[in-house]
Symmetry: C3
Subunit: 644 residues, 3 copies
């Protein structure tokens, strides 16, 4: 491993069954040996609490620790993640095993940090519907609301006679004839993420009791049900598991191109990098980087030559301080036999081995600080959930919508911090807020202050529609943002995705899709675009107004990329943010501490026009799935597509 | 409201939770106030029994009132319609709350009528599979059959050893490895509708005990599981809830056009109007008319300008005596936040307000009697269910098939009564019977008498195939209708909808689809059309014979609209029924008491050629989504499409 | 019946309810009468044990005999096959009813054989998840493995902490958050088939105790979950139920053509014939031949004129000794009313009657021995299941893949034995092994011996990947076959089916699909084809090597039919197997004991070039859905397509 340039090794993430084959029969000997060998070769170890896989003897003794589906069916033993975060019994067992393990490795110098559990919520397990969760939900509500009358009012339970006489009367949202109450669902989703937070904190607190270690957790990408902003508050280090060719198949609406099947979508990956980096405003880790072909996506072509090296560089350009590959060697047993490792099952190097080694060598010479971004993209899980509860259009997916905005920003070569709306905005020149659905006056004030102090704000459709309790504001959308944006939304419409919509800007037509709002601007608000057809023809679709030292643009459609690029370019210019011309699809620039990573996620070849001496790694010719690191700023680099 | 031309206000349909916040703690004060205010402004009130939403305290006290899915999963609290119609406990609670409420408003002069519950069966709740339903089903069977041997014989339980030793042994149709017995299913569906009838009668009887009010219920449109003919026997007034742009998306097989997304399909809506009008042979109400965009269809474009006015006129042309809009004001809370009202959430008028007001003003001057139709379309829920149990072709949907016949009749400008096959037919010149699947000799005699007395009958495919018990007749189809139609069906075939079928009529080819029968006509029967391909090529597909003073046409395919128009035009001519030439798609005429409503559900413009003075409302130019009321009979009106 | 040429009549397959209307109230009188009448007309009777449909009184008395879904939902009474194979109670009841019935008919001369139960496993009932199955699975495991440590090691339960402390701790695979362990699943599938075997043996043993009868079972076609090779060990005669126009719609990936909707796919049907014939190396029966249109496929066009005759001949050409039609007369009652019989419901002959009679007359003169095949196609249910558990590509279906190989062999006019890999191979010149996934050294030795003794072997992709326990081999694929094939698989890839793949052979490009392997051949191995694109471009895709007196070809892609035909033609030539040029689609030759059946499953017309006197049945002109029997060997027959 050391030979391959590896510095960190993560161990023991599903090891409960070997650590404790029978109740109380703890056996760390095999793990001691492994850790010692790694230590002897100068490698650092990250240990994992083994709680993602409670062993069968524990499940048989305490079947109540199992999660349950909404209809009450238990989520049985036989894979992983079958335990309930709210099970008092499982929390007790967790405390026991984590304490034992942390105590055992308390003095080991090679152990530098801990990963709590593994991929919280994977396989749809954030939300559980068991009896323990029912009780815990009632307690959570009791803590949140003054009394049950307060809950009834904030949710609005008069509708369809949904009043509750006590907190105990509120159950998890089980199968009902018609849709659930949106306020109840949203609170259940919040409760579920809070359950994971509490559970994670049990680990973090116990680990910190035993040593001066960092505590991390490996999040999943494009992951809706767990509020990473909130969980990260309890972590020293944010990390995530990146599988570009899998995610492009199963967590994105558009069908992948062949290039994407070979290397993934840089913006899909990048959005997760930027979320991980920005949520705690610190360098992050990729805890599992795809090492080759893997087992779980629908199709598994071999990644392009160079893709494994490319992904490592791309992560570093986005702010990663370490990239670990999963896994070291292909496993003969169980569910992941089709998951490649850096080594094949027979111990010989697999395709990823040399690429990982090459990347490690190239990156050894690079020493960079934290990424500094001028643009913030506001992201809130509550908005994701609230729009998901009432999408009002089958294709209106909050994350896809946000990704459209992110993609256009990235195509202009700027770094983007993906932050919670409540985050401090003082350091940003421009803020982009698509689908900022739940807004109260406090948030409106926060954004108003940003704009008045000179910030440039771009607000997307469906913003300011609801209260944080998921009720409509009594005033028309964008509710508390009406004053700031200088408009109200007269009507909204949703369309099947295959119905082409259009708006007109200065006589040119631009495509839009899925969603349209008819805006009623204030007199001081400028109309940027108008609708072109239907009963809303001629009505404003995009507006802009100046306010204090800044400006606010409101985009009342799901914009096509051409329209959005116009709005974004204008926004960046207003904010004085240096940016590139529109980059080719699949090619992205990432500036970090004076260096620029130029990454090519395509099979085409490009030429970089940079000074000879500016090339730190790679070359001026960018081959298929290739990367170059240069000391030139993005807006000064020009790139041309050569026939490859 | 009065300003908007509103005369009737419906109230309290989901109000149990506020009427009775805790068991026995009845509080009508808020409702008293509302009714009094409306009364003060001269408005009439229709009250609703609040039983569609049993409150949580009742569910917690008596969880056995919940419905159950076929696999036993309860249909939990949290939306609406979660109660079982057969729950003895819930019937008792129903009696209590309905009595209290009816007694409370017994002397209020503003209360003119009552709606029982709300949209019985919505969200798939007609059919319940709980233990109470199991017991009630056994009782229902015991009441229907002489003894269990009679049941075994009529169902035919020898097949696959499905004999029952007692009525108690018969359960609801729960999950089985293979398909259920069709006779058992059909009886379960009948039992389910009868359960609603009994439950509705509890309301009706108690209401009538307390006052001289009309009793109505608001049915859903295109609704399979509840036998409206039977429920309506207990109602003074039939009403239904009409959502044209929603239904066209989710209750019709064909994808909607953009015009249909904006205004719906007039024949889809009209078929429901005509069913409501004809089932009790009296004017009906639209209890909920779509007021703008609504929350539940897949997509929600804004309706076309004028659509809300158009729908009101269209309903009146079909025989409605009142059109109420749902809802008055958009609701801030709960599941229907995306459902428009006539007023926006901030209290300002929404798009529907002015259109509803315009329609009300125009219709004030119109005073018309009940619609008089010369054509009856036979419709029987038993046939819908029996064909649904064994469709024998994924695309053979009884209601879609019936709608094809209805559409072609409507395109000839005639009013159509949609009636049960047992209804008196003396007043009709022509009767159309598509998919008259279950036929006994009594029904055959009824139809034979109609024909012999000079009626013109058009019988569609799959007629006379089975007994009312859902067994095959031992004689070939059309079984008891063989003598009347003068043929037997030698073979039937089903095809995927994308396989084009064709028949030949006098050397011309006409399209058909999905279903084909090879007919063996009697010598006195004339062959109208023959099949053109496959092993049935040359075999008769459509026949006609005279009988007594009338005629019978049998159509042994699912006909394309061209073929069907030929058959219908011939039928109308034979019956001496005045009709138009084929009307443009989306334009329909409705004659009522000397006036003709000309409705345009398209965005195209048309010119009407009618005498100047004949225009009662609207004008000679029919704009997009426009309506005209004229005093000219349909067959004397000509209409031309002007480029709009 | 005798008039129709019928010799055998099968009776009583679902008759428990009439044989025993109440517990112990046995009544064979009606069946005695039926058997006697048939005997009087010289007909032979095959009786069935009636166990596929336990009556309601038995279910009510012992609800624990019901099967259960993975989530615990019982598979209720109301159709068929609702009993659990492992229920001790049901086994006891089975012993009772089978003994009574066998004893009753012990001396009846007309009863020549017995069918056990009916279509074991139909409707997804091989695999049950009830508590009895849980206990039985634990016992089955205890019998298979030395101890639970042995199980843990062979399955590889260290992965994700899936260790078991006892056999009792192992449950059926119920719902889990993520995928199940592949070794556990595979053993559960084996256990399930073994449960049927044990259950079938109860019947067979009891029947043989009472008479010198043959024992058969009617298998389903294209049926994954039941290991026919193993069940057949306990049968004297293998039979199956053939529904060509149904299977072509619901058990094949490609959409059927119109000809296939009328007559089915000869290779789909033939593969089942050849499996039935070869598994016990003896003539088989078609126990249910489709008699016309049937009730269960999505669409039911009428079969082409002649199809029912064609199917009978086709079966005989493949080695059938009897073809029985299901059913004699259309049934008025229950689930199969839309299933044609040879007679209509009114007792008049239906379309199949005359065709069945014609086939019977033509075949009376034919007296042929068992089919003699030179080619074996290896087929193992374990491979079907193992690949099904981890397909690694949504479209990689083991049976579809095997059928591709079969189809190309059949298009060369050779008979093919479909046998288990362990079967003796001495009598074959060529062996084809696609997807031979689970391989141990014993099997590798078996195949090596075949090749060294002069056999020609064609091995398909995904072979030798795993141990019989469904773990990866520690050596690279094809694992134990690496030495024999002279290669290892460096990488494998899967692609969406709509991505066209290609390989190059001698400068020509051939299509492939879904699956690609990059082969590392030994020096003595010849590269036959190479990949043409992607990171594997230029890498070997197909190889061949000589070994001993034979040769081994390895095909590392899912080959298109052109490529596969090249490989198969070469294989047959090397083996000295006489074969035809490529036959037209839908036309197939079957040689049996000196006669050749030429069957035309298309509506086109063909001319046969054979000596005048060689025609035994039919003629030289082959009409639509026609058949000819000639005394010429396949490779000497030429056929040309005339415009029909
Ligand atoms: Mg609770
Ligand atoms: Mg019952
Ligand atoms: Mg067990
Ligand atoms: Zn839980
Ligand atoms: Zn019920
Ligand atoms: Zn079982």
């Amino acid at each position: 491993m050391a030979e391959a340039g590896i510095e960190y090794v993560r161990l023991a993430e599903f090891s409960w069954g070997v650590i404790e084959p029978t109740l109380g029969g703890l056996d760390f000997s095999w793990l001691d040996e492994a850790v010692d060998i790694l230590a002897d070769h100068g490698l650092n170890v990250v240990l994992c609490t083994p709680t993602a896989t409670p062993p069968k003897w524990l499940v048989d003794e305490h079947p109540e620790i199992l999660q349950a589906d909404p209809d009450g069916t238990p989520r049985h033993f036989g894979s992983r993640r079958h335990y309930c975060f709210n099970s008092p019994r499982y929390r007790e067992e967790t405390r026991r095993i984590v304490s034992e393990m942390a105590a055992h490795y308390a003095d080991h110098p090679a152990v530098v940090g801990w990963q709590t559990d593994n991929e919280f919520g994977c396989h749809g397990t954030v939300r559980c519907y068991c009896e323990d969760c029912s009780a815990a939900f009632s307690e959570w509500l009791a803590a949140k609301y003054d009394d049950v009358g307060d809950l009834n009012e904030q949710w609005g339970t008069t509708f369809w006679s949904q009043q509750y006489a006590s907190f105990e009367a509120v159950d998890p949202p089980r199968p009902t004839p018609a849709d659930h109450h949106p306020s109840r669902l949203l609170d259940y989703y919040r409760f579920a993420t809070d359950s994971v937070i509490e559970y994670n904190r049990i680990h973090a607190d116990l680990i910190r009791e035993h040593g001066d270690w960092f505590v991390t957790h490996n999040f999943m990408g494009d992951f809706e049900t767990l509020d990473m902003h909130k969980v990260s508050n309890d972590l020293d280090l944010v990390s995530w598991d990146s599988y570009p060719t899998g995610f492009v198949q199963d967590r994105r609406a558009a069908d992948p191109s062949m290039d994407e099947l070979r290397a993934g979508d840089p913006d899909q990956v990048g959005l997760n990098h930027d979320l991980c980096r920005a949520t705690n405003d610190a360098p992050f880790w990729v805890m599992e980087q795809q090492p080759g072909d893997v087992n779980w996506p629908p199709s598994c072509p071999q990644p392009g030559d160079g893709a494994m090296r490319l992904w490592a560089h791309h992560a570093v350009g986005h702010g990663a301080d370490a990239v670990l590959y999963f896994r070291w060697r292909r496993c003969l047993e169980g569910q992941e036999q089709y998951h490649a490792g850096l080594m094949k099952q027979d111990g010989s190097p697999d395709r990823g081995y040399n690429e990982a080694k090459a990347a490690a060598e190239e990156l050894t010479t690079v020493d960079v600080d934290h990424v500094d971004a001028s643009v913030a993209l506001l992201h809130d899980y509550d908005n994701w959930w609230a729009i998901g509860v009432q999408p009002h259009a089958p294709e209106f997916d909050y994350w896809e919508h946000l990704r459209c905005y992110y993609r256009v920003l990235r195509a202009r070569g700027v770094q983007v911090d993906v932050v919670h709306p409540d985050a401090p905005l003082d350091d940003y020149e421009a803020v982009v807020a698509p689908g900022l659905h739940l807004v109260d006056t406090e948030l409106a004030d926060h954004l108003t202050q940003f704009v008045e102090q000179g910030g440039q704000l771009l607000v997307g459709a469906r913003s300011g529609v609801k209260t944080p309790a998921n009720q409509l504001h009594e005033t028309l959308a964008p509710g508390p943002l009406a004053d700031l944006t200088g408009l109200v939304v007269d009507q909204h419409e949703s369309y099947p995705e295959d119905v082409p919509l259009a708006v007109e800007v200065d006589g040119d037509e631009y495509a839009a899709t899925i969603w349209a709002e008819w805006l009623d601007p204030d007199p001081q608000t400028t109309v940027v675009a108008t609708h072109t057809s239907g009963p809303g023809a001629g009505r404003p679709a995009v507006t802009r107004r100046n306010r204090g030292d800044g400006s606010v643009t409101y985009c009342g459609v799901w914009p096509g990329s051409e329209l959005l690029d116009e709005l974004v370019a204008e926004l960046l210019s207003r904010g004085g943010i240096k940016h590139t011309s529109r980059l080719p699809d699949g090619v992205r620039f990432n500036e970090r501490d004076g260096l620029t990573w130029v990454t090519n996620f395509t099979s085409r070849q490009f030429e970089l026009d940079v000074p000879m001496g500016a090339v730190v790694s790679g070359g001026q010719t960018l081959g298929a799935f290739d990367v170059a690191v240069v000391s030139t700023a993005p807006h000064l680099i020009s790139i041309s597509n050569e026939a490859s």
